[in-house]
Symmetry: C2
Subunit: 755 residues, 2 copies
Amino acid sequence: MKILSLKIFCLKKRFQYSYLLSIIVLLSLCDMHAQQPADYVNPFIGTSNYGATYPGPIAPRGMASISPFNVAGPQNLPSEKDSGWLSNPYVHQNTFLTGFSQVNLSGVGCPDLGVLLLMPTTGTLETNHLKYGSTYSNEVAKTAYYSTEIDKYNTKAEFTTSKRVGVSKFTFPKGQANILLNLGLGLTNEQGAMVKIVSSTEIEGMRTVGSFCYNSPEAAYPVYFVAKFSKPADRYGVWKTPYTYEGVEAQWMGYNGKTRIMENATRMVVGDSIGTYFTYKFDKQETVEVKIGVSYVSIENARENLKKETANKSFEDIHKETYDEWNKLLSRIKVEGGTVDDKTIFYTALYHTLIHPNTLNDSNGDYPEIKTGKIGNTSGTRFTVFSLWDTYRNLHQLMSLVYPKQQLNMVNSMLNMYDENGWLPKWELNSTETFTMVGDPASIVITDTYLKGIQDFDVEKAYEAMLKSADQIKENPLRPGLKDYIEKGYLTTDNGGPVSTTQEYNAADYSIALLAKALGKDEDYKRFKKRSISYRKLFDKDLKLLRPRLPNGNWYEPFNPNAGANFTKNVGFIEGNAWQYAFMVPHDIEGLAKLMGGKKAFSKQLQKVFDMDQFDMANEPDIAYPYLFNYVKGEEWRTQKLVKELVHKYFQNKPGGVPGNDDTGTMSAWLVYSMMGIYPVAPGEPKYAITTPMFDKITIQLDSKYYKNKELVIKKARNNDGYIKQVKLNGKIHKGYFIDHGTLVNGNTLEIILK
Amino acid sequence: MKILSLKIFCLKKRFQYSYLLSIIVLLSLCDMHAQQPADYVNPFIGTSNYGATYPGPIAPRGMASISPFNVAGPQNLPSEKDSGWLSNPYVHQNTFLTGFSQVNLSGVGCPDLGVLLLMPTTGTLETNHLKYGSTYSNEVAKTAYYSTEIDKYNTKAEFTTSKRVGVSKFTFPKGQANILLNLGLGLTNEQGAMVKIVSSTEIEGMRTVGSFCYNSPEAAYPVYFVAKFSKPADRYGVWKTPYTYEGVEAQWMGYNGKTRIMENATRMVVGDSIGTYFTYKFDKQETVEVKIGVSYVSIENARENLKKETANKSFEDIHKETYDEWNKLLSRIKVEGGTVDDKTIFYTALYHTLIHPNTLNDSNGDYPEIKTGKIGNTSGTRFTVFSLWDTYRNLHQLMSLVYPKQQLNMVNSMLNMYDENGWLPKWELNSTETFTMVGDPASIVITDTYLKGIQDFDVEKAYEAMLKSADQIKENPLRPGLKDYIEKGYLTTDNGGPVSTTQEYNAADYSIALLAKALGKDEDYKRFKKRSISYRKLFDKDLKLLRPRLPNGNWYEPFNPNAGANFTKNVGFIEGNAWQYAFMVPHDIEGLAKLMGGKKAFSKQLQKVFDMDQFDMANEPDIAYPYLFNYVKGEEWRTQKLVKELVHKYFQNKPGGVPGNDDTGTMSAWLVYSMMGIYPVAPGEPKYAITTPMFDKITIQLDSKYYKNKELVIKKARNNDGYIKQVKLNGKIHKGYFIDHGTLVNGNTLEIILK
């Protein structure tokens, strides 16, 4: 679809150029244009197969984003938002569109945001989305741009965004046109909105969002907005559908439960099911642009965001600015060789790693602090949406390598949360702690960042924060079951997912040990190093797998290692089974191999995971598995083989081309690293496993503030299907299939020579 | 109860005076104080027997008022707000208190306002009103002051108000104290609120109100507020009880439908069932004052109202100011003679006539225009709550006599509505037209005002507005059925209450005729004079009553003249039956008498209404009946007898001491006039019927802008049970039992001499 749209674009452009130039020359110019990294992005990737991305525009790490919303209404069954667990505002195969949401989450596993639904319609006003919804055609999705045609209304809808402002452009036919802003319908499980029509060109209000993963309803919070219309409405008003009243009084309420049209309403209206309509009478085709500024602080800030970012700028101006910003960022990695599809999945994945964590602060620096209820202010960027159980494994490592300033800001944001709330984040979303998933991943991210040389943050404070969650037994929201963990070395079946959680705490403790060592805190180093391998107590020698223990220390019985795949619940593990967790001790592969009876047995058991089809590409616990063969001399070819197979099998240039939830870019980061031939196999440890790159040459621009070289080149010598013969760094032979981060970035060229 | 509280007050004061003065002197001083008109007001009158008044404080024509709210919860059955048609926030015999509402309507027949419920509690926070509600004791209600003790919490609650600010003072015992502001519970049938905690001493927000009489839900509107606390809360937050979610997702929502406590919430929260709590930890008895400023325009204006009216003023200061304002107004009529109870019911009634119409504009002049959605501004007072079907009969006449400037502002407010909306009001409530009841009463009020010499308004505009509603057949919201009325002289049974409506249009047309005559518009005078007697076509000679006609002109059959009393529905009449409407043609009593076969037959038929117990003191159509005997020579004693009997029977110094809904002071105005011995028997005509005054001497201060005399004295010579022997004006015999307004106010003394 992407390719098609480029073709059409080129065809259109053609006639604006001089007729003197031949079509061939023109097409080659188009091809040159098409070679910009941002032009390879296909935002449809991940919009099916539960990828949970959306095709609409967003600026890099933007607060605002626009997604077509096609998950409401029986027309969209089975992927209908209220009929099952659906976490995305858009599903590619769905057909019934009910608006364009202005704040969205990308690649998450729980429904939230997906609100402020803008919808153009024509003819008589209809405010029920089941009635005004429509099919749509000719979708175009590109970096910072999305458009479609709404069949029922013969109306074209185009969208772009700046960081905090969604920009919509509707081209209406002659006649009555309506622009609805539906504040009832949304993906979030929260209800409640406020709206106030300020004038015939402006609306302000808020929508409640929250209860991510059906948790923490008391932390539900508002997203504020101001909407500006390029043309004054001829008529406007608010609709409200109240709940149906029951009891004696209902008999007097002829209007009970019925939608009210509040024409000319200019005072505040609140309700769970409300919206505004702006209506025009056009005597010819006309366009209307709507800019919607958002803020998590206040309406005033939403207005200021809108003004600062988009005042006096056209749709085209804003689109170009955001496109350029994307292209600059994506161009930090240049790839050569590979097919168009290879480049497309690569740059789209890189694009998906640059969406979350995203900006929380307003243009004036204001942001809501976590938990305190106060409004903080930052001169930098306050990041939000830290899905750390996912992203600690590779996404932050990618940021440290390619965008270290962003990574620094993310660490600083995490430390600010500690300042505000007394705790590092676990799964933070718009300054609410959702406590989703398990473990204590912040320590890993911070250690990994520090050990890669990005150190201009308050590491002592970070260390203090890590120790607090690692050692405070009472009232510790981050590490439930810590008492057992410290005393016994593991969590028992008294806790949810005791094996998984033990492994996560081990991983975190290992990172603390590494940081302790770096900071010269030798006692702590020893203590946490020791703590980090306590998972061994859960190793069942007979099964050669980890297994939950009862509070009395006995094995949990009966135990089926296969149970728990595909997100079914089981006693020992979170979102996985014994196979998918057994090897998730990347910091102690040597120890694990020993438990299993040596490297051979280890390798055999690992291969079994794949052979028995127990490997799950769609979830995080086992995503490093393919790289673990690098630990076994002579078995490295398995890594190379598996990675290539998995990339081709699960990552494709199509809507279903992500194996499952993108997990705020974690799957995408896996792909980016895997296609570059390196992977941060042990989070916290500044090292990469090496595999076959999928491009002939990859050039990473390095940030001169952190890295002495201007760029890092990864080259594949010989483009064939053979396994790796030799690895060279700056022309010298590099031993083994791992490389330290420092070694890598201080070398200029990593050459991977195939057999 | 009132008397008791005065005693306590005096006892407390005692020790502040010099010990040199004897107790006797002190008590006499106290008695002198007690003789102020404002001290006679007993706000409990009308709080039972459907009077629909409330005992809490309000400033004269204030926007804010405070009422104890005791109509929610099964403890209050049968007078429970959701279990029947209940139009008041307080019922005297109820016992279960759930808060103190900050905006209220007095004496209306439909539920509305009664929101922003402030409630002090102690101990563990509880947000469910059914659980935190309490019985209460030791109520004291006085002009501008109400207090009670809340049994469950051992907490004293005291209240006063300025014009736009409710002021509450809570005296808590040692321990945890909570001040709840419940934005869910309320008397109105609307739902929906917004709240934002600004700081530990301030809250801002709004509550939706409207759908008066279960009408016009699309015109529901917000009341904005800002609440300021005298002491910073130790803890605060918002609670929210969402609706129960149904369907598939409900299984994941452990919090489904449950109340959430949102501690520290400082961003906007909206919902149908929300509230705030401010919690204190007191180590001794402490008081907290809460000032709540309201506005129908904006939060900013609510804040400005609060600041301008109450900043830096103590509870006591504000109470004194409002008391003084009341006392000044009430003192415009001084009564001598009569019992304490007589004075109490008199001044309480006068107090009740000074509540509605009330102030709509903020202190900066802003107010919401009617229907336009715009914010208007006035340098005077914009009045609201025009229950004109009630008040056209006597309340505005009382204002013209005693408070002509207020009446002028009311007329100007009505004309502003015409400017804004194209129509005069019918039953206007906070700039919504509720279209409650029937007829076109604005014309009558304006004519009556003009003919009494209060003429400094744009009478030509008023006349234009009257003609519009009198003549515009299509799309006329004020006069449905106008086509039939003009063509046939009456509405047919195709319309609701066709006889009543015909009579109302006749009355309005008669006023238009009178004004036309005064303005020299002779053609119009003739036309409307003729129109004003068309009710005669509905006169059934056999029954000597008015009777509905079918569209074909035939009488409606079967017809039971007794049907329709006590608010039961019937075909011909609105809130009444044939007896209660037959004589409601005060402008054509001569004509009616003729139809009935002469004055004797008229008198006989009129007496029958009372003898058959068909007279309804509790509703407006027949309230002038007792005065109609004055039209029949020799029968005037019946008026004197009946009025006295009715006053004693229906108006008493007790909660049930108003015959029914006070109808925004209409019943009270009836009492005030009746006790003064004059009654504006024919609305629109500047004349009064005369009856026996109930005081020895009544002195009305006259406004020098409109009246040449400083005061008007009505004296009763001989205080006995005899009927009137003679009437003298300034010592000269006055013939008959009517007196023109001009004659009356130009005379100094009206002397009514009993036999």
